[in-house]
Amino acid sequence: MDSQEVASRPKISLRGVTTRFVSKGAVVDAVGPIDLDIADGEFVCLVGPSGCGKSTVLRMVGGLVRPSTGEIDLHVTDPRWATATVFQDYSIYPWKNVIENVRFGLDLAGVPKAEGNRRSQVYLERMGLGDRAKAHISELSGGMKQRVAIARALVVEPEILLMDEPFSAIDAQMRHVLQDDLLEMWQSDRRTVLFVTHSIEEAILLADRVIMLSVRPGRIVADRQVPIERPRSAESARNSKEFAELHDELWELMRREVQSQLAASRTAQEAS
């Protein structure tokens, strides 16, 4: 394979992916079919109505759920740290202190403790938690916990960073701060990011490209480049004309999706 081909090859590609959950006899078609290519270094936000399968797509890319049909290809150099995930509820461990939590992925991979501590400390500093390395998790606020979770994902330097509504459980002010931090960090190392959010605003602020899913089973109903230049800050992006236009367009789409679902469930109710 020549280098030209490698360069144009997508980092993540989904081909005819569907997901069907069967639990206790009930069948839920959660996703698809979806075809999607994400380029190396691209920041992609996945939005859509709640329950449409956003998390499921992310979990499939992260290897926590298998697709029912189709295929997902990740083109990576080191499969060990292909992906790292930041979850909505932090999922950091109360029996470990801050730096032990950040070091977790390195510990699992057998990186020596001293080296792990050194590397973790770097990311704690970047997240503004440099002086809290030995703190207990119970002493941290929600925003700090999520910083720990982000540091834990970044310290393994994953080729693909997966984030599932990482800021939705955090108050508005702290959310803005973390969004800016994330933007700044991404602009300095340009990792491939797949970021799930239910907030259209957040998606446009952060992403190169916003993908909207339909109601369940989630299919792609819109795929838009964000026409706001980088480097950007949340503040400047929010006030731009491009932001307002894209925001309105996506809102209208989302509204139609949700209404069509409501109408469908009403007719279903009347039929039964």
Binding site: G62, L64, A84, F87, Y93, P94, W95, F104, L108
Partner: protein, 290 residues
Amino acid sequence: MSEQATSTATNDVVLKRLPGPAEFNPKSHSRRRRTIELSLSIGVPVALIILWELASTHEWINPGLYPSPTDLLRRTPELFSSNAGGGMWGDVGKSMYRVAWGYFWGALFGLVLGVWMGMSRLTRAALEPLLAAMYTVPKLALIGVFLLILGFDEKPVIAVIALTVFFFVWIQTMTAVMSVPSGYRDAAVSFGATKWQLFRQVLLPGSLPQIFIGLRVAAGVTVLTVIGVEFVFAPGNQGLGYRINTARQILDPGQMYVAIVIAALLGVLFTWVVRRVGRMLAPWAKEDEG
């Protein structure tokens, strides 16, 4: 009063929320509350004992059936020093021996099987219905069977105790491992944890506080069971349960009470030790959990 309703001329009612004593002086207030709680937890039992003492010495109740606490205290050294049947020391020692070994084997098997079944659906499918059916069998009723199988020595006694402990520890451990939040597992799996790493780094610490609740309950139950078994069968005619039972037969309530109190203290002490160990191994557990 921190809440007052004031009726004004227009018949509007003003509901006031005001700071109370706890807010005005939080430090001394909480100190006072602690003092009250502590004096109650000591005072109530002491008061009851004093009441018992008075009732017995004034013969409001029959002192032959209810000897006074001071009488019991006076008799205690004699019970311990007399060498009839090994004395009380022998009984305490034998009972503690049975508590220790029964608890050890029961907790060991309960922990191993509980963790294994908590982690593996297949093992659960294979063993859970069987164990759940056996869970409610009164283990004391099996003493006869064990006597026939294992012979007339310590083994059947230890077996009954271990079996009782096993079920408490097994079910609590299995539930604890299964109820570790799925977010904790996902995070580990997404970082590529092996099965062993998942267990060692996540499932074990994540379930330890709950596991220790099971171990603590089982500690109390162990003492109860030992006493019960010794009523029925006490190898070498020794053990607190045996002592209580014979004291009843020879109509010596004094001896009976002393043995009962010692058994109770044994249970309290054992439970306390298990709680301390739990606090040490799982210091992140909330107060009410560990």
